[in-house]
């Protein structure tokens, strides 16, 4: 089965500094990877995805992610963090084994951006 791991429960960063939220994956076949963000009492908002092509994927709100096949990683990055970026971030992989198409999520990383 496809899976993703987010090794950090929480990441703290100062506003204006670059941020990285880590994600590693384990898949058989082509990896289809996604990042979502969840604000308190809100749904999951899509940020970006990697399907194929360029390893650097650009998404919403200035976020980007780098797909690294040799390290099986798909880290989320932003050059300059904002306090409003504080939220819960989920990495997810499309699990299409057996013809299915569900998303399997990581455990989430709480990002806290401080002034």
């Amino acid at each position: 089965a496809q899976s993703v791991a987010q090794p950090e429960d929480q990441v703290n960063v100062a506003e204006g500094n670059p941020l990285t939220v880590k994600c590693t994956y384990s898949v058989s076949g082509n990896p289809y990877l996604f990042w979502y963000v969840q604000y308190p009492n809100r749904g999951l908002q899509f940020l970006l995805k990697y399907i194929t092509g360029d390893n650097l994927v650009k998404g919403s709100y200035g976020f980007e992610a780098e797909f690294n096949k040799s390290q099986t990683s798909f880290h989320l990055k932003k050059p300059s963090a904002l306090v409003s970026d504080s939220a819960l971030y989920f990495c997810a992989v499309r699990d299409y084994a057996g013809g299915g198409n569900k998303l399997t999520f990581g455990t989430g990383t709480q990002l806290k951006v401080e002034l």
């Binding site: 996604f34 999951l44 908002q45 899509f46 399907i51 569900k102 998303l103 999520f105």
Partner: protein
């Protein structure tokens, strides 16, 4: 842009009662997914539909059933509710069931079972 609509947004039920959650996908989206997110947990896939047919099944209890209607909206029916069913239930939709397609999530229905 239109988003996924879920109703109700909040629901309080007693144990052993039934509940029905509704999901209206983004216009033209024909694939619907249901996820359950317990407190402090990641979302867990329950079930999905494409063109009114079940396309995938996850850890959905036998007490739950779901269907997709001709207008592509979906309903999740939950019977004999248990305390452990208290969770945030998300619906997502996509334009087709292919793995490359993005799933867009609704705001969720927060179910509390007392």
């Amino acid at each position: 842009a239109a988003g996924v609509i879920q109703s109700p947004r909040h629901l309080i039920k007693e144990k052993r009662e039934t509940a029905t959650l509704k999901c209206y996908p983004i216009p033209r989206h024909d694939t619907v997914y249901w996820y359950q997110q317990g407190p402090g947990q990641d979302p867990q896939f329950l079930i999905s539909f494409y063109e009114k047919m079940q396309s995938d099944k996850g850890s959905i209890p036998d007490r739950f059933s779901a269907q997709q209607f001709s207008d592509y909206h979906s309903e999740l029916n939950m019977s004999s509710l248990e305390l452990g069913d208290s969770a945030l239930y998300f619906c997502a939709s996509s334009l087709g069931p292919k793995s490359q397609e993005t799933q867009y999530f609704g705001p969720g229905t927060r179910l509390l079972v007392l």
